[in-house]
Structure formats: structure tokens, C-alpha cells
Symmetry: C2
Subunit: 383 residues, 2 copies
């Protein structure tokens, strides 16, 4: 019986997306088996997950925690530690490597999994922002299928199914607008971390919730879409849709559009990525068109949210510049979350570092990792 189940390797099992993945797997015990889980340093939850899901392998990113987890799980499972072990875990035979690690550290394990020709469920947008061209080319060469888990990209993939590349006119990435959509321009300078973390529609990790508030999240998604679907940036637009029911739309050259709708719950795109092309019934909350009543659409306010145009700028600039945007943003968001900078400083800092950077054309993976390190250092130098 076990052999007929889809074997899943889950990197980032203790984060927001990772916990949702396990919640989905819990609902389909006949369909999926968790072969391996990994976390950077959440020993407590990792042990709990290992006991519930009985994986064959458990990896802890932080080597200092190896002996603790070893003693807690002794004899029950193979235990590994360190970032290199995480990369190796990502290449193990399985049906799906689920990448749910946030931030720039996701890059190496993702490249390793693609290099091994694995089928990837990709929730981490940062690596594809930093190294989109390398990842796209490697995935094509290794015939590694990347199924997006970001709700917007999951919807775009669904919109594009069965369509030729030539028939695509415009991708409209929707966004709820984030926590500050309705905050007036004058008050933007004084918003607090708590204001920013109060997202109107999605329960997510802290970093992505800040990115939603700056609209950098949409900017990163534009870059992500460019490489996931191999579409030029001028064909990718952002539309604010506060109800967060339509997760993206695609317009075709004949002027017709397809849209994909679901209740804002990450388990929908997670289930899709795990089960694709199968369509599995579930008990998640559904869209009730009659009770929603209204869908609205707005153009993003690019003056209030300069992250949008900055993302298009780095995408057109290419080379190592998107990696600099990504790492500078991650570092600046951390500074904001720890109270060291104000909200408006986030994108201001990112812009300064981006404009200071001398982009390397046709970068190697090491060039990209070096550029990220440089960007992180530049942000810290500024504060």
C-alpha cells in the first residue's frame, strides 16, 4: 500500500507553508507519504512532525541542534544536519520535492533538486527571483517540472494549461493590496510592525506579510512569473483585487481571458501541486459567489508603493541585479521586523543598494550568491 503513495520530501516543514503542506497530507493518508522533512532550527516542531508522519529522514539545518534532535528521536529515523545535508536530501528519489524554505537559503537545495531532475513543488519564490534564468535553463535541461505553489502562479499555470505560448497576450497577477492598501500616504511613514503584520486576507509568515504591505511581494511575483512561464516582463501586469478570490488572470491574443478562483487558503495550491494533474475533493472552505457579491479591481499605486517599479527595473536590468533586490529586501525586512528601521526605509534601502550594484551579465550561481552577500552587507552598512 505504502508504495503506491506519492513520496514527498518536504524542505521547510516547520514554517507557515510547510505546516499547511502537512495539514494537506494529513487529510489524504492514502495518497501521500512524507518521506523526509527538514527545518532550520525548530527542533520542537520537527520532532513532533517526525513522530506523527514517520518519515525515513529528518534534517536540521543548524548543526548545533543535531545532538538534541538525535536524542529526542533516537533510533526512529535517520537524522542529518547542516545545509549540505539539506541539499542532499533534496536530491533523494521521490515523487515531489516540496520547497517551502523561505529566503535566499532556498537557492542551493532548489538547484540541487532540479539538477537531480526532480519534480518540484515550489513555494519559495526567492530563489527563482535571484537565479531565474539559471533555474529555468537547468530545469529545461534536466526535464525537471516546477509546479508553482504561490497562489498567483498556481492560478497562472492553471490558466495556461492546454494553451500555446504564442496565444498568450498578458498575465494579470492579482494582489489583495496588503495591510496598508487603505492607509493614506501621509500615515505611511509611521506604520508599526503590528500594523504591517495584520494582513486582511492571508495568514502567512512574517517576511511575506511585510512584502505584501510594501507590494514587493507582487514585484517578486512578476519576476517569478517571468521565469516560471518564460514570459517577457512587458506581458506581466499587476492588478489589485482586495477580495483575494481571483488569484490571477491570463488574457490571450483573441482577447478572451481565463481566471482562476478559490478561497484564499494556501492548501488549495498546495494540494494542486501535490496531486497535479489529479483533482482531489476536499473540505476546505469554498468560494460562495452569492455571499461574496462583489469583486473589485484597481491599478497598483506605484508612487505609494515604489517596490513595484523597482522590481520591473531589476527584471529588465537582469544579471545579478534581481538577486541584489531579493537579498537587500530580505535583509531590510528583517531590520524592520526587529525594530531597527521604519517601514518606508525598507524599499528606500533596497533601491539604494540596487542602484549602487554593478550587475554581472550571464552570472554563475556563485556570482549570484556573492551578489546576495554583497547586498546584505550593503544594507547593514547603511544602518
Amino acid at each position: 500500500m505504502k508504495n503506491s503513495k506519492k513520496q514527498i520530501i518536504l524542505l521547510g516543514s516547520t514554517g507557515s507553508v510547510g505546516r499547511n503542506v502537512l495539514d494537506v497530507v494529513r487529510k489524504y493518508p492514502e495518497q501521500f507519504h512524507i518521506k523526509a522533512i527538514a527545518s532550520f532550527n525548530n527542533v520542537e516542531l520537527l520532532v513532533e512532525q517526525a513522530e506523527e508522519f514517520s518519515p525515513e529522514m529528518v534534517t536540521i539545518g543548524n548543526v548545533a541542534l543535531y545532538s538534541e534532535i538525535k536524542s529526542r528521536l533516537k533510533g526512529k529515523v535517520k537524522i542529518y544536519a547542516g545545509m549540505k545535508a539539506l541539499e542532499e536530501m533534496a536530491t533523494e528519489p521521490c515523487d515531489t520535492v516540496f520547497m517551502a524554505i523561505g529566503g535566499v537559503v532556498a537557492l542551493k537545495p532548489l538547484v540541487a533538486a532540479i539538477g537531480a531532475g526532480r519534480r518540484i513543488a515550489l513555494a519559495s519564490k526567492e530563489p527563482i527571483v535571484s537565479a531565474g534564468e539559471i533555474i529555468r535553463n537547468l530545469a529545461d535541461k534536466k526535464r525537471s517540472v516546477i509546479l508553482p505553489v504561490d497562489s498567483e502562479h498556481s492560478a497562472i499555470m492553471e490558466c495556461l494549461l492546454g494553451k500555446t505560448k504564442e496565444s498568450l497576450e498578458t498575465i494579470y497577477i492579482t494582489g489583495s493590496g496588503g495591510a496598508l492598501w487603505k492607509v493614506c500616504d501621509k500615515s505611511m511613514g509611521s506604520v508599526t510592525v503590528n500594523d504591517v503584520l495584520r494582513h486582511p486576507k492571508w495568514k502567512m509568515g512574517r517576511k511575506i506579510t511585510v512584502d505584501s504591505a510594501t507590494l514587493m511581494n507582487k514585484g517578486l511575483e512578476v519576476i517569478e512569473a517571468r521565469w516560471l512561464f518564460d514570459v517577457k516582463s512587458e506581458k506581466i501586469k499587476i492588478v489589485i483585487h482586495p477580495e483575494a478570490i481571483i488569484h490571477s488572470l491570463v488574457e490571450f491574443v483573441d482577447g478572451t481571458m481565463r481566471a482562476v478562483l478559490f478561497y484564499p487558503d494556501m492548501r488549495f495550491p498546495i494540494l494542486k501541486a501535490l496531486s497535479f494533474p489529479e483533482v482531489l475533493p476536499n473540505d476546505f472552505q469554498k468560494v460562495d459567489l452569492f455571499s461574496i457579491g462583489n469583486f473589485s479591481f484597481f491599478a497598483p499605486d506605484v508612487k505609494k508603493f515604489p517596490a513595484v517599479n523597482l522590481a520591473y527595473y531589476v527584471l529588465d536590468k537582469g544579471g545579478t541585479t534581481p538577486a541584489v533586490l531579493n537579498a537587500a529586501n530580505e535583509t531590510s525586512v528583517n531590520l524592520f521586523l526587529t525594530g531597527k528601521i521604519k517601514f518606508l526605509d525598507i524599499i528606500d534601502t533596497v533601491a539604494k543598494v540596487v542602484h549602487k550594484h554593478k550587475s554581472i551579465k550571464k552570472p554563475s550561481l556563485d556570482d549570484i550568491i556573492n551578489a546576495e552577500e554583497w547586498a546584505k552587507g550593503e544594507v547593514l552598512k547603511l544602518w
Copy 2:
């Protein structure tokens, strides 16, 4: 060059849909060739169309007009007359038989075209309402592909592309609500023909515009969807969407939905039916999400618009009952358009005739035609 063009036989070329078909063909002279056209009695326009599009065949339904059209088009083209000639024209070799004849008279030519295994672009909903099961079975047997042209069914087809039948949960047929959507209940008894013909979103023929106002059009579309997509009636719902941009939605068993959007212009679904699976660029007005701003959704008011539940009733009753609904409705709409009955009498009359009818199970095509004749007679007896 001419041989590489798609050959189209257009039945009902002088009606609202037929003229739109020719407008589409006019824009793609390298793609499509009109092989044959037919009209019931609009000699003037038929001659004009024959001169512009140079078809090989022209058929006039009304035999009394044969000599007039013959003298007007002498030597230029083969001319036929009568309903039997129309049926024969529908079986001629071609790439697409475009059925744009309104009303019950479309049934025989449609059955003839399907019997000949032709690819059909179906704009006429009445025949599939009356004889859905016969048409479905015959099309399956003859491997005749039916591409819907009704905007809602064109959208549903698009939503279902690449999906298994088992994955379908619910079809949501959208409707603008018609001309009387905002008229209060008390005023419904006194609306005039002019009120009813003022459709807010679509420019269409008179009969379908009245059907939009009674919501019988949505009822007929539910029946049409049942047979076009072989879906049980409980899986088909109606949702009022006054902006008329989303042309239908399909929910799948995993709780995700696909929707199809386009500006309300019949040329979109016409072009799709002619070119499918190709996607052709065009200069028709496109949806501008930013200028639309809002989409709204309402449940249909089934007390104000009893046609909705009447349609579900006849669908569940089956046999010859849907044909009776269809013919009684067509006759009643004509009585309304000629000022002989009031607006609320339309559905009231249809309901009386439907409830009087003794349905024949597993009807033949003749049973259906006889039931339609009977229904027409019953309506006229009542007024």
C-alpha cells in the same frame, strides 16, 4: 490558396448572429471562406451577402421567394429554396456548419448536419433544448463535434478544456439579468415591448432579448448545458452578473474555479467556434479590468422570474416536455412582440401548456416535432 481556407456553411446568415459571423469572416479573408449561406426570407440582405462573399450555394427557406432571388443573382451561384434544401445544404462537405437559425425550425437542419458527421458551430439553442438527448446521442455516434457559440457555453467549454468529467463539481451560468433586472415587482405587469427590447449589455435578436428579460434565456441555457456537456441538472446553477464580463464559471471537485471573461460581443465566441483550437488575434473591444472596477454577483430572483424554475422542472421531467416549453415560449414571445399579450402572460402561458402536456418518454424526432406543434396550438388556443 482558397483550398487552404476553412470552408463554412452558414445557416441563418441574415439574422443577428449570422451577420456577426460574416463580420468575423470579413476580418480573416485568408482563414475562412463562406461556401454557402441561407436565410428564411430576407432576399435583400441575402443577395447583398452573396455578392460580397461569393459562396457556391445560396438557399432561401421560403420557396415563394425563389424566382426573385434567382433573377437577382442569375448565373453567379447555385440557388436552392425550401426547408428541405436547407437540410441538404447542412450536410454538404465543409469544415464547419454554422447553425445561426433561431427557433424550432433549426432542429431538422441541425440533425441533418450532425447525421452527416459535420463539425457544428451551434448558435441556435432551441433545437438542443427540444431534442437534447437525441442530438447528444447522435453526435456521439457520428463523432460530430458541437462547438457552442452561446457566450456562456463557449465559456463553459473553455473552462472544461483538459479537465476530466469526474473533476466537474458545478457549472455557474452567468446572466446579465436582462432588461428588467432592476424593475420592481409591481411594475412587471405593465412593461412594454420597448422596455423589454432595451437590453443593457447585448445587442441581439428580438426573441432572445425577450427571453433575457423573462430569464427564460437562462433556463434554456441550463437545458442546453445539460446536453452539450452531459452534466446533470443539479450541477448547473445560474448566477446574475450584471457587468456581463464573466461569461461562465466552472467549479471543480477540489474547490477551485475557472472563469472565462471577454467583452460582451458575440464575435468572440463566434471566432472561437470558427477557429478552435487556434486562437486568432482581433481588433474587437477588450476587457479593461482597471476601468471596469467592479464585478457583482446575485442569485436569480426565482419568484420574480418563474421561467428559471420552470426550466429546471421540464429538464427533470424529460421526454417531450422540454420541447413543449421551447415551442410554447417561442409562440408566446411572438404574441408579446406583436402586442397580443402582456409581459407576465408569456411565462404564465408557457407554464399552463407545460403542465397540461403528457410527456412521451424516449421520444423520436417526430414525437418532438409533434409536441412542438401541439404546444404552439395550445398557446394560440389560450389567446
